[in-house]
Symmetry: C2
């Protein structure tokens, strides 16, 4: 007896670690897979030859299934896809682009494909493109995000009622209670980003990890909606962008202010002032940097306790 | 055996109907209370003498507890509070202002007070002010909303872990599964707005009710953040505002564009072009205008089915 996501990816728990630029290299992905979830290498910040190294190292570090997340808009996407195919990776999560671009190619090589969407419309498009599962990611998620601003609470039941393929909920989930709530809303499994960014195995800078732990409710905001909407921690760089946007700055001005390499500077090099710091709203609930194994123990304990609570009077009416 | 919200308000189900301008008069509030929930008259759109009439009519229409929602920023708030006290209403929900303004006065008259908040900070402030319960309302909620943009999925567990008073979740809830998910995240009860706006008993215009039913995912957006953030359906009026905001329009220009009486025009008079149409994201999940009694039957059936599903393999890991 397994649920759809456990069956699809042959994993013990329907818990997926989101592929995150500058956070999720082979070390994080393999630790998650070794703990019974599905780890994803985030290819967004890796040139093809570096991605290859990460895949080789992940294969050495785990005998369990793991995958790669590929943002389709990246100039390296095609090369990355070729690396993935030639390396024998069996799972790919695509995002930030059309699911039609690589799904057929990947599936012709026996690779399982999930596609990340932020709306019902794109979920239906992904299903039509033949993906094996869809990740529906709410407005509260960290990093790049959809234009519809639909939250996890509203997006999950809507997508669940419209698609027939397995549904993975993302955005706002960092606890066992959150996993259970997302599944109650119609998800078959969950993808967690922020919680895994604040682990010992994440490749991000310790400064950034500490800021995730310190973040409180209200400390992130979705910005740069004219370029590509992205949820940022409210640091000095964020304030520059917010000020420009309040003035009605042009796309060109915003691009200039963003410049190149901001995400690397912030999350990988630990420049908390000038760097772009991408994290989810649910960072408010994350209070410690832990080994991945301990995160899984906590998630599963919280989940099981939450299920048991339905026997109590709070829920009887 | 009752949960905290059932005990506090002496109601059969911990389901509260949000007080909504132009939608929730005595007819809706009494129908909700007669169905076992807590109905609220939305005072925001009612002058004090009209509010008094609604209270008298609600008392005739139900022997069950009902309440009044009072937006504190309203120029009529003080008079409304006096009407409430002199009419013997036993429950008040305050919103859009400081919980310190009226809580002591109301409690000195034996009135139960709940306060609506959009952040952890304001939840703590409300608890300190001595309210009996706090309503934590997420970004996805319709109408006026907080500046933090924290979603229900992130806000509820955070507030639940910080306050000791009963917690009511609002924003994005329109189904039994949604009720169960909100409680899983830490709420003791729920407040539903949009679902009750699309009922036969709501006082809003049939044109507006039909638009709620027709709304799809992505059809609302939080706008007018420089004035007071409000979630709107994307009609012609919304487009005017969105265009002005994209140009970096001043507060004065936005106030001019908004003018007076837009909400009445849209929701009460049914002008779907020039009116301000306030509704939640979860309108995407509402597909019929129903009598309140039937809404309750559906919510309770969905809730109970959702609880039963925890016995199935989907949830076992």
């Amino acid at each position: 007896m397994k649920n759809k996501i456990q069956q699809l990816f042959t994993i013990a728990y329907p818990i997926i670690q989101g592929g995150m630029v500058w956070n999720s290299g082979w070390r994080l992905a393999s630790a998650v897979s070794n703990s019974g979830g599905l780890g994803l290498i985030g290819a967004g910040s890796l040139k093809p030859e570096v991605l290859k190294e990460h895949i080789v190292k992940a294969k050495r570090a785990t005998s369990q299934p793991f995958g790669v997340n590929v943002p389709i808009f990246s100039p390296y996407a095609e090369e990355q896809i070729n690396v993935i195919i030639s390396s024998g990776v069996k799972v790919v999560f695509t995002s930030a682009g059309s699911p039609n671009t690589y799904t057929s190619l990947l599936k012709s090589h026996g690779i399982l494909v999930a596609h990340v969407v932020s709306s019902v419309k794109f979920a239906l498009k992904a299903e039509l493109a033949g993906v094996d599962a869809v990740v529906a990611e709410g407005f509260e998620a960290g990093g790049h995000n959809g234009r519809e601003e639909t939250t996890t609470f509203c997006l999950i039941p809507d997508v669940a009622s419209r698609v027939n393929i397995p549904l993975i909920a993302a955005g706002g989930i960092a606890t066992g209670e959150g996993i259970l709530a997302a599944m109650t809303l119609g998800a078959d499994g969950v993808q967690l980003g922020s919680r895994f960014a604040a682990t010992e195995e994440a490749s991000s800078h310790p400064n950034f990890k500490q800021l995730i732990v310190d973040a409180k409710e209200g400390d992130t905001e979705l910005r740069l909606k004219q370029l590509a909407p992205v949820r940022l921690l409210k640091n000095s760089f964020y304030k520059q962008i917010a000020a420009l946007e309040a003035q009605g700055a042009s796309v060109e001005k915003l691009k200039d202010a963003l410049g190149k390499g901001r995400a690397m500077k912030g999350m990988f090099e630990g420049d908390l002032i000038e760097g772009e710091l991408e994290i989810g709203q649910i960072s408010s609930l994350i209070s410690s940097i832990l080994p991945v194994k301990v995160v899984f123990e906590q998630l599963l304990e919280e989940y099981r306790l939450a299920v048991q609570l339905y026997e109590t009077e709070k829920y009887r009416f």
